[in-house]
Every structure is written in structure tokens, then in C-alpha cells.
């Protein structure tokens, strides 16, 4: 492709709109969407090349929220990285905490008491409810449905955040999991609150679906848009709902069976077309399965300690070695790769960010569609920039 700069409108940081010439397509328009754009979920930027209104090339630009998570993780102790993981995917601090705790527990060979495993499952499924409802709200916002579904989603999110706050002390940055257990034991009151929320959430989902699922405009905007084949999705490392929407039965809760998930009876919803509507539907169905898991976990919560009594808070120095631990986060496989050299700080601290890797195929899904579709496709991939750029 021969690109000739004709009229750069603004110099530093890349031009916003410019004309380019392509031997195959002829005259094209290159549009820079972001980093400040209301529909890019933060500071994501795409450089979109348009033939008329059709996308012929789309290059994502990252790094506008690259805040050096991995470097900071290598300069601080294992424990001090735990609150930083809250800020990776800032909607889902509980699952980030859990993934990091799993990696460190693998590295140090720590056992987790049964009660803590149950509490972790409860919190992870609450997080999934929170994330998927918000995602549906943001996706509708991207479709142009300004406000209403997002407001309903946030109304429910506040209820879950109230639970998180009364347990961990913070609405978003929970910093709750520890190596070998959890920080605080949930009280009977808290569990009753979680039970109430679980009982009431189904009614909200019914209402949410009545509002959205059968909506003809939503179907017209999302069905057949951004189709992804399962072979490409697997090769591109896509995980989470986006992979399952293509019909691949891959859920780490079933595949790895980590924690106490094998004890619960739930199904993995699968899509058929791999389009945006499927990705939306998968999330709604997953929330229903999460409710099933929640009620089973709340009913079967055993007593006992919440922390492994042998686990140390301070002076934690795992033996030299390495470990990769992963769990099924709401956005996909979130993993932590740690190399220890026997000191108090990890030698290498790496996050496997699901939303970053899920963006690999953004261009493939958007080619041939319009800019308005690209916005919806990006919304259905479900990214959080804190995790994409780290």
C-alpha cells in the first residue's frame, strides 16, 4: 500500500483525518478514532482507513493507559502487588485478585481452606454478574441507546458494590484475596445479603431481557455483525464469552476445574454464529448460570477457617521457580506468570490480559463493515483499558 500524506491536520501524536491513496482501492480516508472518543471505552485508539463508509483497514493503537503494572510488580513484594491487580481490570477486582492468588499459591505450594474456596467462587460469580450487566449496558450505549440500559445495569451494579464494600471495605478496589485464603470472613448478615441479591437478580435479568433481547433494532444492528470463525478465534487466543460465542466449548471453570467449581452443576452456554448478538446473548445466559452457581455455593458454604494458618502475610519469599496460574475471568482467561528468584520481590511478573489478546482479531471482525459497526464490535469484545495497556 502506498500511502501519501496529503493534508495532515494536526502534527504530534498522529493526524486525526487525512486522505491516503491506495493502488487497489483508490482514494481513501484515514480516520483516527480515539484516544478521546466516547465509544472506545476509555483511551483506546483505532486508526481506521475508509473506502466511502467501508472499513478497509483498522489498526488499533495501544498504550494510552500503559501504567507499567509489570515493572511495578517486579519492584515490590508479592503482597504489595495484590492491590495493584485491583486496578488491572477495574470492574472485576475480585477475579483479578483470585487469579494472582492462584498463581502465587501455585508458586509457593500453598493450600486454600475450603471455606475460602467457596467464598472466592461466590465473589467471582458476583463479579461476573456485575461485569456482564455493565457490558450489556455499555454495548447498548455504543448502539446509540443512550443511557437507559446502562442506568438499569448500574442500578444493579450498585447493589453488588454495596456487598463488596461491606465485605472488603471498598467499592471497586477490593484487595480481598490473600495467598492461602481471603482477608475477611463474611458474616452471616453478608451471606444473607448475597442470598437476597441472588434471589432478586433473576427478576432484573428478565426485565433486562424484555427490554433488549427481542428488540428489533438491536437485532438489526448486531446480528451478522462482526462474525468470527472458531478456528480464527482459537488461533488468536481469544478466550471468554467471545470464544464461546463461536461455539467452542472452552470454559476454564470446566476445563481446569480450579477451586471448587467441579462441585457445582452449571452449563456453559455456547453461541452458533460468532456475531455480536451471540456475544451479547452468551453473557446474558452466563449470568443465569452464575446465579445457579451462586445459590449452590451459598447453600453449600462450609465452616472452618478462611485463611490457611500456615500462610504468612509478611516476609513472604517463595522458593526459586516459576508458575503460571489462570482462571476464567468475566472477560476471558486471566493469568499471571511469575518467576521467583527466592527474594521478596518476583523476578518476573507478567499478566496475561484477556481483553488485550481478544483485540487481536478486532481488524478481522471489522473489515468490510462501517465505522458504526466497528464501535459495536469493539463494545462486544468487552475491553477494559486498564487491562489492555496495563
Amino acid at each position: 500500500m502506498s500511502v501519501s500524506d496529503l493534508t495532515p491536520l494536526s502534527a504530534p501524536g498522529g493526524s486525526t483525518v487525512r486522505a491516503v491513496h491506495d493502488e487497489f482501492h483508490g482514494d481513501l480516508l484515514e480516520v483516527s478514532m480515539g484516544p478521546h472518543h466516547p465509544s472506545t471505552h476509555g483511551v483506546f485508539r483505532m486508526i481506521v482507513t475508509l473506502d466511502g463508509e467501508t472499513i478497509v483497514k483498522l489498526k488499533p493503537v495501544f498504550g494510552y493507559l500503559h501504567r507499567n503494572h509489570e515493572k511495578l510488580g517486579e519492584n515490590t513484594t508479592y503482597l504489595a502487588s495484590m492491590p495493584y491487580t485491583d486496578r488491572l481490570d477495574y470492574l472485576n477486582s475480585m477475579t483479578n485478585n483470585w487469579a494472582y492468588a492462584v498463581a502465587v499459591e501455585k508458586l509457593a505450594g500453598l493450600a486454600v481452606p475450603e471455606r475460602a474456596e467457596y467464598v472466592r467462587v461466590i465473589l467471582a460469580e458476583l463479579t461476573r454478574l456485575l461485569n456482564h450487566s455493565c457490558l450489556a449496558g455499555f454495548l447498548m450505549q455504543d448502539c446509540g441507546c443512550s443511557g437507559t440500559p446502562l442506568m438499569y445495569a448500574f442500578r444493579e451494579r450498585e447493589k453488588i458494590l454495596d456487598l463488596f464494600e461491606s465485605l472488603s471495605g471498598s467499592r471497586m478496589m477490593c484487595n480481598y484475596q490473600r495467598f492461602g485464603g481471603c482477608r475477611v470472613d463474611p458474616s452471616a448478615d453478608w451471606l444473607a445479603g448475597a442470598q437476597r441479591l441472588t434471589d432478586g437478580y433473576g427478576a432484573f435479568l428478565d426485565e433486562f431481557e424484555a427490554l433488549l433481547t427481542g428488540n428489533e433494532i438491536l437485532m438489526a444492528r448486531t446480528q451478522g455483525v462482526g462474525r468470527l470463525s472458531s478456528a480464527l478465534a482459537i488461533s488468536a487466543g481469544v478466550t471468554g464469552p467471545a470464544l464461546r460465542a463461536t461455539g467452542v466449548a472452552h470454559d476454564l471453570r470446566k476445563v481446569d476445574g480450579y477451586g471448587v467449581y467441579p462441585r457445582f452443576d452449571f452449563r456453559v452456554p455456547l453461541g452458533d454464529h460468532g456475531d455480536t448478538y451471540d456475544r451479547y446473548m452468551i453473557r446474558i445466559l452466563e449470568m443465569r448460570e452464575s446465579l445457579k452457581i451462586l445459590s449452590q455455593a451459598l447453600a453449600g458454604l462450609p465452616g472452618g477457617p478462611i485463611m490457611d494458618p500456615k500462610a504468612k502475610l509478611r516476609g513472604f519469599r517463595p522458593k526459586a521457580g516459576e508458575a503460571y496460574g489462570r482462571i476464567e475471568g468475566p472477560k476471558g482467561e486471566i493469568g499471571f506468570y511469575l518467576i521467583s528468584d527466592g527474594s521478596a520481590n518476583p523476578y518476573r511478573y507478567r499478566v496475561r490480559p484477556p481483553s488485550f489478546i481478544n483485540l487481536t482479531i478486532l481488524e478481522d471482525m471489522c473489515l468490510g463493515r462501517t465505522v458504526a459497526d466497528a464501535v459495536i464490535i469493539l463494545g462486544s469484545v468487552d475491553i477494559v483499558l486498564g487491562e489492555v495497556d496495563r
Partner: protein
Amino acid sequence: MDTVEQLRDRLLARFPGAGITVVANPSPAAQHSLLLTAATARDLALFLRDEPGLQFDQCSNVTGVDWPDKEIVDTTKVTLPDPAGGPPKVVEQKSKRVEPGCLEVVYHLYSIALRHGPVILRLRTANRTDSVTLPSLTPVWRSCEFQEREVFDLFGVVFAGHPDLRRILMWDGYQDHPMRRDYVEPDSYEWEPTPHGEVLAKARQHYPAPAAAPEAPKP
């Protein structure tokens, strides 16, 4: 699934002379890895992906690790005959040598089809300065595309055969590789009210200890 030794033997049977080493992992996780040579890495990766019993179709995680040059002091005991004719003396001789460092790229492979894994592949560059080229595995697994760009950006490993090797997180004109262990930040020091550790050391450079405050003039 095979153990990592069995996997190595299987690979060596198919690719004799490929030079595969098992890197043991002493931690309780016991996730051992295979160190490959750059020359055969892509063939081995293709085999791992396509062989019916293996089918590692998902490359989950790609990351770099920086191993800087290490100065190692070897202590050897040498028995020297005493020139005066006495009993021979045992003298400790210390010799310094520099173990050359390298940049390492680690790939975590899983099989979605057969539900096994991980198999961990490692590739090492010859050194950290001029010979930092490794084969890109993006043609084998698409998921390596952005992750290898990230390793290029932050560690400075050049991936031969990558379709679009540009900086990904930092801006284009940036010249450092900040995830390397010897990276030094530009000194844009700001007064910090709560310094300690490295920050305190930096603070002292910027604000050297003040001279004794002059006494207030008496009225």
C-alpha cells in the same frame, strides 16, 4: 498428556538434532519447559500445533524475560608447592567471569481441542545487545501478534518474520526498552513528600543536604 521429557523425545524423534533442552522448574508448580533453538523453533511449533496427539492450538501467553549479564566469582582451591620446601599450601584463587545474559521469550501453549497443557517453550537470544533476533511464531499462532510486539517494545527482542513489528505500548520515537532490568528512567524528579528507599536516594541528589539554617536576625 506426555511428560515434558517424553515430549522432548517425541520431538527429537521427529526432528533429530533440533537441540531441545528441558528447563526444570523447582517450584511446587512443576511446570517444566522446553528450551528451543532459534533455527528450528518454527518447525517445532508447527509440529506441536498440527500433530494429532498434541494439537496445541492455543498460544495463551507470550512474554519476555531479561537475564542481564552476571558476574560470577569462581573460587578454586589450588595446591601450591612451597618453594622453601615446606608442605604444599592450599591457596584459594578467585577468578571472575562474566556469564553473558540473554533475552528470553516464553510461550505458554494449551490445547483447546484435547484440553491439555501447558507446554512452555523458551527461546533465548545470543546476547542482549546486537544479536537479539528470534523467529516470530505469529505465523503459527495469531495470538502472538500483539504479544510479540509488546516483547519487542518493552524488551527489545526483534522477531524475524513478524508481519507488523512496531512499538505497541510506548510511542514510536521512544528509544528505550523499559522492562529490561538495567533500564534507567529519565530524571524528571519531582519533590516527593514521603521519600524512602530509592526515591530518598534520588531526592538527595536533587536536594543536597541544606547548609545550617542561618539564625534569625535579632530585632
